[in-house]
Symmetry: C2
Amino acid sequence: MERLDQLPTPALLLDLEVLERNVARMARRAQRLGVALRPHVKTHKCLEIAELQERHGAAGFTVSTLDEARVFVDRGFTDLTWAFPLPLSRLAEARRLAQRANLRLLVDSPQAVAALEAQEHPFHVWLKVDCGYHRAGVDPSSGMALELARRIATAPRLVFDGILTHSGQAYDAPSVEALRAVAEEERRVMVDCAERLRAAGIAVPRVSVGSTPATSVAESLDGVDEARPGNYVFYDHVQVALGACTAADCALTVLASVVSRQRDHAVVDAGALALSKDPGTGTTMGEIYRDYAGGILDPELRLVALSQEHGHLNRPLAVGERLRILPNHSCLTAACFDHYTVVRGDEVVGRWRIWRQRT
Amino acid sequence: MERLDQLPTPALLLDLEVLERNVARMARRAQRLGVALRPHVKTHKCLEIAELQERHGAAGFTVSTLDEARVFVDRGFTDLTWAFPLPLSRLAEARRLAQRANLRLLVDSPQAVAALEAQEHPFHVWLKVDCGYHRAGVDPSSGMALELARRIATAPRLVFDGILTHSGQAYDAPSVEALRAVAEEERRVMVDCAERLRAAGIAVPRVSVGSTPATSVAESLDGVDEARPGNYVFYDHVQVALGACTAADCALTVLASVVSRQRDHAVVDAGALALSKDPGTGTTMGEIYRDYAGGILDPELRLVALSQEHGHLNRPLAVGERLRILPNHSCLTAACFDHYTVVRGDEVVGRWRIWRQRT
């Protein structure tokens, strides 16, 4: 059995026990809240993890790109929501893929609805609603929301799946109480929007919400049908800082080695292409565990800067010392590697592919 | 012939004419300065570009990881410097690869020198020197510099290649004059260091320097033997801001589409996994061209935030509008994609693989 002290670095470590606990807990949480779970695979891009989520009752999956969708369809995952406003330049590809799977699309503009109306294919379509994040989506109280929902619902060939949102503003919540308030606001905005559309005679089959921080703390999802968290499989330093989880819930770390010791700092072999340059909370580019299994974050150590392959540690450690880095943003960190080194304690038990292609 | 207005987005566009001009110009510059050019491939990770550099006289290449080294050795590029302080955990792999190629290693610690002394293989070894960047490398005036150089030069089986540095502090230069001063300081520190080692009876075969900004503006490299710039093949917004190049010298852009129009902003389909989250100068996450070929940066438009697949543009544009994004940091942007879409004007003339694996 290969052990962590023999692995070449950098390596992306996935703690199987923590992963399984996170997947099981979110599945129970969704069940208790009375919603279906349609996990976002943009975080892990990994078939083995999707299978684990399926065993825990996942009802379909969410993808962020057509590349992810193709990989998952090729392996038999055929109920997918592409939770990104449809790029018109990808419509032909989406249509080809939709011959082989139920690929549910997302729209928030008349242009995208018109493009779909012009297709022969009976696409399933979600209307994207802005619940306060103000990134994309229609204003739930606008005439546009009514107009687009009606067009989708009455188009001869389209199937209206319902309304969908993402509470990305949860990432700005200054406290767990504020996070709970975001989750409740997301629920309320979406339920009100569905009621408004229904009052106007539009059948709204489903209401879909989701972000990992909001779903991790929501106290009620009454009126909501499904949630689409993604990051919860791994969590990360940002989620710990938000109060969405504890450090013990973080399943993903980067194993690195000290390669250069300087007077008041050290350099490790994990830089921007092993961690991403996500600034997280702005206080660190990565927190540090000095032990292998489980463990406690070292309060004195952190990465203060990253260049392409170099990580700049704020203390001098000995050349050859190995440590684990808790990334700021696990989704972007996973997308730096081609596989997870799956571990139980300090033993390597598997190697799972990360399907990060961008064609 | 495929044209840019037909390409699915996001796509990584490489302007062949600009690339060829950059490669030719840096080759002439190195010749004029009297140094060999050993380009860093971490920027492009692309065999076709390395071949172009070779046709323009590149004398070997520089890599940042063993993964890059393996790809290049497999395709017949057998004179490589791995310009990263040797991670002890990779020594066995480095040794296997060094059976098939001249893989020159870099050290700045007694631990790494000891590990190499213990090998049967006659590794070529550079001593990494800190010329003022203060990331890695030995202090050129220290006893450690003398001690390590002597150990490498006198080890029975090692071959001392000389001293090597990277003037990363060039990226903090506030003006072109300051940039020239960094280049001159790098040269002076390294020439002084070589003289000091030689005065102590240590033969120093070569002096290697390099960063794209410094090499782009250096007025003299007297006493230096080779330069290792990498970014110059593409340049990027950071290099423009530094004065190392003009926007017309930037060869790499991301073609994106507007997917959502909001009251005072728009969303494009290029986020952190198409551009990286490199903050660049801190003023933009990407500058914008609204035309296809060549063109002028739109002074009113820029990306103000990136999430995983979403780019947040500061102005509302129409859904479906296509634009090109000049990235902050082309090395990290290239590492987001699997291939370059090579273009001349608005015509697609090739598709070159990006070898971004991390095994």
